[in-house]
Symmetry: C2
Subunit: 466 residues, 2 copies
């Protein structure tokens, strides 16, 4: 037989995986709704000119580009060849890309959301709260928990006014979701302005900010030695590195750390702003309960994407060997400006469905597993034409009551039909043969408990199987 | 401000559109489950070698190809140029495609499903019933109701034995879904072997079969004159065309038509097989109720895709000006064979979510419209820090009970906050100011009915808003 494969980094989801993923999506969606977020879906395929707006060069190798198709391709190939003849340089991917591809699969849900806002700004009432649960595609090297096609679940608040209640709502939302899922989490929180304050007081130059943030974000993945090496490489001095290293290691509860940094930020306005806002979050959350969430200020927390402007955060399962982020977010007040829309504030959170799935599986939190997953509650044995017609009346009634029931599709060996029920964990088998039709009885077999019963009417049967 | 666009034929879905689409998906999914179908999801990106298996050359211009990315592209471009130099012919899309692209977005859900079965055949218990609701992509010219990205909802039964109860179950499933949706439909049904019988008796040659089917499928779209022209063009004689034309116009109920064609198919074994099977469906369905469905034998019904081998059908809304298919399916017993798996039978149905959406909208069947669509049932006015902290206790209680409630995110002008509630159709506004905190009251305003009430505790409030 021929062999078939799926592309590297992509996945199929078996029935039980799909079921549990759907359960996650349903739960998260329910919570988004309870918090008053609108649903939204955007096209999978975006113009590259839109995607470029935010990501810039970094996407070069990360987006899946759609090849222009049909007749236009020939023209583009011809133009491309002319271009090459002119420049005598064929090894420039950009030229190739620009001729061959003008569209790509979306890379995240934030840029499509902002693009949607710009296109529909006259129809939207601000503050605009929306959630979006859709797949995104990245051509990264696949790793454990990292795939080329994966689902993001985002909730964002875009507003004409600046309010830290948005952050509080998102933290509450997070807590609500993971309370529903029964998964304890830690939210690590920090502030871009605190990092800016730190950079200021340890004397890292302004032009190294972007490098600093990008390398810092990798700390938990690559370790201190590697971070040190990379930072020194980029021109951060050993003295600066050591100072910031020692500031990162300040221990104690929030109050103590706050006190310490208040002194440190005496001459850093940026540091002060960051500290004030973190303090606001802490002070308010103390008065508003969280159930499954521990909030933790991590002064070394950075997020690689450089559009964040305020509070940033990352969600980690409480029981977690390695630093395994299952979501994160932050404030991005300048992002809409990049797209030409000024005085608009935004903050949002993104949940990684696959990461949550893995964490839930590890803690055995899914109720459905291979021992109890079944396509229906009931199966009718197929005894032949007359019996099937008779069974359909019962099937109809059961289905109308929302009870999942099916008929074994062909009239075949009874053992084979029972084996199908066993193999698929179907709990109840209904036996309606000639005898049962004559006596007007419904015979039902409880497979697991090996009990056989007879009922006179379908309502008694329904009560029994419930 | 800069302008942004989305690619031709793709769409964003506004909150209310997303809501109603989700309603459709949820309903269809519920019905699939009630009928005992397993859920399944497959990767969006397939190897072109897999897709080619079924569709062959027809997909050339219809699939969205993913451009190979990164460093490998240069090598491929170089090889491509060498190839061109060799052949002195650059205008062959196939050469270009093969070098630049080895993956593509899925084109339907059937081929991925079959590919999944082949890859997982040792883990699957047959009969395998699965549903799959995911987007597919086709680079066709966009038209009304036809898009480049759209959702399919498929239910298939793949089995080691042949049984027409599979068809019956799918027809029942169809009826169940559209009964839930309250949309009356007609199912037009026919049989490939009836068409083969017709071709036999009117003397159309075997080698014209594929052309005949493809042109016939377009009848409702392009009209009789155009069909005649195309058929004659392909070598079907005028006599054959006229004979088949007159056979298509046989009127009467099923019984009469059956009688008529029994005579006609006296010497056509294929015709007899088809007629017998159609008769089985009719006879059985007569004994099993359908609620929102009228079954109609349309002897001229063909389906363009040439892998069908038995019963074929198409679903049309009852109230429908033009022939607007909202779904269809059929038996494809030889499809698995193409992939190297013999003695496996398959039959399935595919629902077009967008077409159903349009039909539902036309008949005003969605309960949610722009006058009653709202992101939450309740909004709390934001009176400032102390009031918000107090409100959060109530918010918590409401949300835990599953009631959608939110807080206006910033402390701003009360009129602006009320306007937000109006604009978003939020039915209840909760007012908790200094006075209410002091008197321990909850003030609630019913926006639509302009009623203001006060409650002492949250349970009374919940009873009221329910």
């Amino acid at each position: 037989m021929m062999k078939y494969f799926i592309p590297k980094g992509t996945r199929d989801f078996s029935p039980i995986e799909t079921y549990n993923r759907n359960f996650l999506i349903k739960t998260i969606k329910k919570c988004f709704k309870i918090f008053g977020f609108y649903p939204l879906e955007t096209t999978s395929i975006e113009n590259i000119s839109t995607l470029n707006k935010k990501y810039g060069e970094e996407i070069e190798y990360l987006i899946f580009r759609i090849l222009n198709s049909g007749n236009s391709l020939n023209k583009e190939i011809l133009n491309f060849l002319k271009e090459i003849n002119k420049s005598k340089n064929i090894i420039d991917n950009n030229i190739i890309y620009n001729f061959l591809s003008k569209k790509a699969l979306r890379y995240d849900l934030t840029v499509p959301f902002i693009r949607y806002i710009i296109m529909n700004k006259d129809k939207i009432f601000f503050p605009f709260k929306r959630y979006q649960i859709q797949p995104v595609w990245r051509s990264e090297n696949p790793q454990k928990g990292r795939f080329r096609e994966f689902y993001q679940s985002d909730a964002d608040i875009v507003s004409t006014s600046y309010s830290l209640w948005d952050e509080i709502e998102l933290i509450k939302l997070c807590d609500f979701i993971f309370t529903e899922l029964n998964l304890s989490i830690t939210i690590f929180i920090n502030h871009i302005y605190i990092l800016k304050g730190l950079v200021e007081i340890v004397g890292i130059k302004n032009n190294l900010w972007k490098n600093f943030i990008t390398i810092l974000d990798k700390w938990k993945k690559i370790g201190e030695d590697e971070v040190k090496k990379e930072m020194l490489n980029k021109g951060i001095t050993l003295k600066s590195f050591n100072s910031i290293r020692s500031l990162f290691s300040i221990e104690g509860d929030f109050k103590n750390k706050k006190k310490f940094f208040e002194k440190k930020f005496k001459f850093s306005d940026k540091g002060k702003i960051g500290l004030n806002e973190i303090n606001f979050i802490y002070k308010s959350i103390k008065n508003i309960s969280l159930y499954k969430t521990k909030l933790k200020w991590d002064i070394s927390l950075a997020r690689g994407i450089n559009y964040y402007t305020g509070i940033i955060w990352e969600i980690i399962p409480k029981k977690c060997d390695d630093y395994n982020s299952i979501g994160g977010g932050g404030r991005y007040d300048k992002l809409m400006g990049l797209f030409g829309m000024k005085n608009i504030y935004g903050t949002g959170i993104s949940f990684g469905l696959d990461r949550i799935y893995l964490a839930m599986e590890k803690e055995k939190l899914f109720k459905i597993n291979k021992h109890n997953f079944s396509p229906s509650k009931i199966i009718f044995i197929n005894f032949g034409y007359k019996e099937v017609l008779y069974s359909y009346k019962l099937l109809d009634t059961l289905r109308k009551k929302g009870i999942s029931a099916q008929l074994y599709p062909s009239y075949s060996d009874i053992n084979k039909q029972f084996k199908y029920a066993y193999d698929n964990n179907i709990p109840f088998v209904i036996i309606i043969g000639e005898k049962e039709i004559k006596s007007n009885k419904i015979k039902v077999k409880d497979i697991k408990n090996k009990i056989e019963r007879e009922y006179n009417n379908v309502n008694d049967l329904i009560n029994y199987i419930k």
